[in-house]
Structure formats: C-alpha cells, structure tokens
Symmetry: C2
Subunit: 150 residues, 2 copies
C-alpha cells in the first residue's frame, strides 16, 4: 500500500482503467458543476461522507447536496496522488487532493489540501459505480476554518 | 450498501468474523491506551488518515502518533454502526462512532460523533491487518473546534 503506483491483480488492467476513468469523470463533473455528470458516477445507494456534515445517504440526498454546493460556488479540484486496489467486485482509490472553491458572486476563494477514499463496486450488470466517498483536510482545525485556508 | 447489516460473499463467514474481531481489538486497544494492542492490528505499511492532520505513513510514524495521543489523554470510543464488505483479500468496514476524550490531568472532556472507513488487507501468510483508517466528524466546523464539541 506504499507508493503511489496503481496496484491490481494480474489481468485486471481493464478493470483498473475503468475505475480510474470513473474517478476522472467524477473530478471533471465536480469541476464543471455538472450535476448529471456527478450523479452518473454514483451508485443509487451511495454514501457520501463529508467532513463536518452527517453522512448523505442515497441518490436523492446526494443530488440535493451537490445541487446546493454548485449553487454556492465553483470548485477546482485536483488529485495530486491516486492509488487503486482492486479486489473482485470492490475497488478502493486513495487520493490526495488540492482544492479551491470560488464563491458565487465573488469573494475570496477558500483552499484545502487533504486526502480521501473512493470505494467503487461492480454492479450485477458489470458496470462500476461509486458507493462511498470520504475525505478530510490536512489543515489544522483553526486554519481550515479560516476563509483563506492558509 | 444500505442498512447496517454485515455483508459478505457466501462461505466467508469466518473471514467476516476475523475482520470484525480485528476491528473490536483495535477499539479495545484504543480505549485501553494499549499501544502494542493498537500496533498489533496495523499493517507495517499502514496509512492513518486523521482529520486536520497529514497522512501518517507506516508503523514507526503510526506508533509515534498513538504514543503521543495516549500521553495527551484517554479515549472512550464506541462504534454505533458497523458494516463490512469483504472482496477477496480486501475488506472495508464502514463505522459510525461516538467518542469522548478525557485530557490527562483533568479538564473538560471533548466529544465527537462521526463516521469512518477501515480498510483491511489479507497478507500473504493469511492474516488480516488494517492498512487504512480515515474518519471525520459530523459536527459543523465551528462546533467541533469547541472544547465540549457540543
């Protein structure tokens, strides 16, 4: 589990590629404030686990969450590291991220640096979907609550 | 992935039990400020991902982290929900927790409620070990930085 290379069982390169494609689609959709794009990656029974917020359960609640977020501002998310483990119908991607958030209507952007886990599951028809997403900030508590995140 | 029952492939009950036993051992060791107990659950190349702190990488750094934490005070951690997915040599436990932290030398305890993921991996000799642990608070940012966490 050390290092940032992608690990997978032999002959599962296409599975690994599929999972990474889904992760990139999520990133692109979040950065594009593209709600259908985000929800196309999520499983219907997904669990979104944001910091300082209760778990958001299932398609309707996750849709509401992102809809509100995209109304509040625009994200520029970047994964600075990604490591994937695939085991049968489950895949875990560990990411490290750098993010900026530009509030709607202007104002200072807030920034964050942190880490997270994406859990993907292969559904009966063979398609992979995001079932869990959890992350947290590397910034100390006092600093991360400041608007500039510095 | 909905509900709080434990899910596993058929005939993997003993794997599931092994993973849950490991998770209970971790909880008991943390609550007992038992450093060898905690480190007996962790893989040598584990990644501890605490909120508002950079990722803690590998046995030496994780040992230092818990040693310092146990010097600062005593934990009472409780998992209020646990759901395990096992796939081949990987297992993911989603937990919801309630925690109190009693500072060494007295002072008001701090409290937290949140959620997290434990990732376990089966090692070549067959034994399961914790390879990743990430969690975050349900409390809003302002509240969770207050000493009583209320």
């Amino acid at each position: 589990m050390t290092g940032d290379r992608n690990q997978a069982a032999p002959n599962s390169d296409s599975v690994l590629e599929g999972v990474l494609r889904l992760s990139r689609a999520l990133l692109q959709a979040v950065n594009g404030s593209d709600l259908p794009g985000v929800m196309g990656v999520w499983s219907a029974d997904g669990l979104l686990m944001p910091p300082h917020h209760p778990t958001v359960r299932g398609r309707m609640a996750i849709t509401d969450y992102f809809e509100q977020l995209f109304r509040l501002g625009r994200f520029v998310f970047e994964f600075t590291a990604s490591e994937v483990e695939v085991a049968s119908d489950l895949a875990i991607e560990r990411v490290e991220y750098r993010a900026s958030f530009f509030p709607t209507g202007g104002g200072d952007p807030s920034r964050d640096v942190g880490k997270g886990l994406h859990v993907f599951q292969r559904h009966p028809k063979g398609e992979w979907r995001l079932v869990m997403d959890i992350w947290n900030s590397d910034y100390p508590l006092a600093a991360s609550s400041r608007p500039d995140g510095a």
